[in-house]
């Protein structure tokens, strides 16, 4: 009896082990938003219904994304493809674990195709690894703009025409003057001083890391002073806080928001009125600001965010990865459909130029946001982005909060102290960086 049992167990073990040896027929894609998921499910799979593998999508919030990916990178548990946010794309590009996309040996040179399409060069630069060439690509270009409330502009500046408003906020000095004017009418120029940082950083001359050393420019002191002076003229809402979102709606007091291409569609538009409401500013100004917005460049050209997509070297389906990347970043038909559906700004000069005159957003009272973004995109300097941006900017933001000291608790921290602590923190967090 015992021998029969042992035999049965042995047979079962062999069967289960053999089941494990079946080939892996899924393409694992790790994302941090459902944007690419929509692309895959509504477009890619529709165009390619007979794939020999299934695409399995896993979405993790971007705050936890790195913590989830780092332990399995370059191991058998790694996914086949990943979406990479601008905050950490450089970090992963530099690891050398991403799949090269301009591998000419099998004829697939996606990077070259992108260049032929007129992709914005800075997006390719960011996705380029020194040894492997282009490893990550994006379909997006993310220039930033300043969105303002037309009704408030009319009251304070006498006009809501973009050209006139731009003249009022053309540089940081004028921006501060405009803040004072707006406050006199009871309006806050921006929701919180935190909105300024991204924009300000775009005005630097070089990135955070130059030749392996921390590059802290003198203009950062200007940022601190500007943030401190503008704080009383803001609604004192932290970025991404509930109050920040609330200020986008009808009855709010905030004049403007600094947001990039995706900010318009995913942040401002949905939050300009309560969910499921179809009211506009004309019909219900108390709750909805839809139709009351205008768009200008603002005091400084900048770019913010963006999502890159890449394959990993450990994948067993490099061709499948490249196919999906090619579809998303180069396929003109797809991008055309995508743009018309979402109004997203793509990194494809040919396509952009051919369609940019077609747009007019009711949300912006008829303004053509596309042609403006196309214009702003020319001013983006991709060389400012480095792999340490996320860490450095977070540590600096911690010090900025203490310097501005909105609620006046405790003593104000001096700029020298802030920078000393900032440097100590950066040194502790990034040991390979030389900190002066």
């Amino acid at each position: 009896m015992k021998k029969v049992l042992v035999l049965m167990i042995a047979v079962m073990a062999v069967l289960t082990l053999s089941a494990c040896e079946k080939e892996d027929t899924t393409l694992n894609v790790w994302l941090f938003t459902d944007e690419i998921k929509g692309m895959i499910e509504d477009y890619y799979l529709v165009d390619n219904p007979d794939l020999p593998y299934t695409i399995e999508i896993s979405i993790t919030a971007s705050a936890d994304f790195e913590a989830k990916l780092d332990p399995v990178l370059d191991s058998k548990d790694a996914p086949d493809m990943v979406a990479l946010e601008a905050a950490f794309v450089s970090k992963y590009v530099e690891t050398g674990y991403l799949l090269p996309l301009d591998d000419t040996t099998d004829g697939d040179n996606i990077a070259q195709k992108a260049v032929n399409n007129g992709v914005m060069p800075y997006t390719l630069d960011i996705g380029t690894n020194a040894d492997d060439g282009v490893v990550a690509m994006t379909w997006q270009c993310t220039p930033g703009a300043f969105f303002y409330r037309r009704s408030m502009a009319t009251v304070t500046f006498g006009s809501d025409d973009p050209a006139d408003v731009q003249a009022e906020v053309a540089n940081w000095d004028k921006f501060q003057a405009a803040a004072t004017d707006l406050k006199a009418d009871g309006y806050n120029i921006i929701s919180g001083y935190g909105d300024l940082t991204n924009v300000f950083y775009a005005g630097r001359t070089a990135g955070w890391q130059v030749d392996g050393a921390l590059n802290l420019e003198d203009s950062i002191e200007d940022l601190f002073i500007l943030a401190n002076e503008i704080d009383p003229y803001t609604a004192q809402a932290g970025q991404w806080s509930d109050a920040w979102f609330a200020e986008m709606k009808g009855n709010a007091t905030t004049f403007g928001y600094f947001l990039p291409t995706w900010g318009l569609h995913y942040v401002l538009v949905p939050n300009s009125r309560p969910e499921d409401s179809t009211e506009t500013f004309a019909t219900d100004p108390a709750t909805s600001s839809w139709g009351d917005w205008g768009m200008v460049q603002g005091p400084q050209a900048y770019s913010w965010g963006g999502t890159w997509i890449a394959g990993l070297k450990t994948t067993d389906k490099p061709e499948a990865c490249k196919d999906l990347i090619e579809y998303i970043t180069i396929n003109q038909e797809f991008q055309n459909l995508w743009v018309l559906k979402t109004g997203d700004f793509v990194s494809n000069k040919a396509l952009v130029n051919s369609i940019k005159t077609q747009f007019s957003m009711e949300f912006l009272a008829g303004q053509n946001h596309y042609i403006m973004f196309a214009d702003f995109a020319e001013g983006i300097d991709g060389s400012l982005m480095t792999s340490i941006d996320g860490t450095v900017q977070n540590k600096l933001a911690n010090e900025l909060v203490l310097y501005v000291n909105s609620d006046g608790s405790g003593d104000d921290k001096s700029y020298a102290d802030c920078i000393a602590d900032f440097k100590a923190e950066v040194e502790a967090a990034l040991p390979d960086l030389t900190v002066a």
Partner: protein, 321 residues
């Protein structure tokens, strides 16, 4: 009258054999300890002298000596973190031992005869069984800015809302309070056990000799509680120096990094906070330094407490006059 024949010798021989069962019973513990504690411990020692960082694989790592330790001693942040840990621990421990003593005295006092002492003990111990994460979320919501319950209370009294968790000393005091609240029940139970172990005949003898309550406390209770006090102090020290869950969940080391205890710093170095991280060798080195600090403190405390004891006949300990 013992008869030493073959039968009784066998019985004696059987008695000796029982010890092998004892070893078998404690073997599982040692096996588990070896796998899950000792090997990771030795690995940490290795990491602390190696160059494992970022995506470096263990197989490619090499030993670089004590460079990591020297780097750490030069880091101001490290000393500040130690300072934060000690400050928060002291703020937690003194009220904890004070409160536990007072309550222990009341609950074991024969004259007071507090009823239902057992139920009170259970209530005081309850905060200890709630997980730290839950407690942290509770206090986080309680002190939320601007509309948490505390701020609403402020509003009732006409005060402006205050960002409690962003104020250096208030955040520290809140963390110390949470630790105190969670652990004073445990301390209370230990002290009560210690006091009840003291023979009441000593107190009776003292009362006959005319000792006051205070004298009895100082000359009988306290000295005889020294072993328990030592145990409490050492365990509280070890736990306090390793304080991580509450500071991390409540403030993540802010504001201005002033509630960043040494364990929070170790975690940040290894796993990052808002970026950074993956500096495994420095993190391991800090852990080793923490280990030696706690070891030194424990030995120091034990030495101070046992200073006046000498061994008398039959191993009895008595105080040197």
């Amino acid at each position: 009258m013992e008869i030493y024949n073959e039968e009784t010798t066998k019985k004696v021989a059987k008695k000796i054999n029982y010890s092998k069962y004892g070893y078998m019973y404690i073997a599982p513990f040692f096996i588990v300890y070896l796998l899950f504690n000792l090997i990771p411990l030795l690995f940490t020692f290795y990491l602390s002298v190696s160059d494992v960082r970022g995506f470096t694989k263990i197989g490619d790592s090499s030993i670089i000596g004590f460079e990591n330790y020297l780097d750490i001693f030069k880091m101001n942040i490290f000393w500040e973190a130690l300072g934060n840990t000690v400050i928060i621990w002291i703020l937690n421990y003194i009220p904890q031992i004070g409160m536990a003593f007072i309550l222990a005295k009341w609950f074991t006092d024969l004259r007071l005869r507090i009823k239902a002492a057992g139920i009170f003990r259970a209530f005081f111990y309850m905060p200890n069984i709630i997980t730290a994460a839950t407690v942290a979320m509770l206090f986080f919501s309680l002190f939320a800015y601007p509309f948490g319950p505390m701020n609403q209370l402020y509003g009732i009294f006409g005060l402006d809302p205050k960002d409690f968790l962003n104020d250096v000393w208030i955040a520290r005091i809140i963390i110390a309070f949470i630790q105190f609240w969670m652990w004073y029940g445990q301390t209370l139970i230990l002290l009560m056990a210690g006091i009840m172990a003291i023979s009441p005949s000593l107190y009776e003898a003292a009362m006959i000799d005319g000792a006051t309550s205070g004298q009895m406390f100082r000359k009988i209770t306290l000295p005889l509680l020294k072993p328990i006090m030592l145990f409490i102090l050492v365990t509280s020290l070890i736990g306090g120096m390793q304080m991580f869950d509450i500071p991390w969940l409540l403030t993540k080391g802010g504001p201005d990094y002033k509630t960043r205890t040494i364990m929070v710093l170790i975690y940040e170095q290894a796993f990052g906070r808002q970026g950074g991280g993956q500096i495994y060798n420095r993190s391991a080195a800090m852990s080793v330094i923490l280990f030696f600090i706690v070891l030194a403190m424990s030995i120091g405390v034990a030495y101070l407490m046992k200073e006046n004891k000498t061994k008398g006949k039959n191993g009895a300990k008595y105080e040197k006059k």
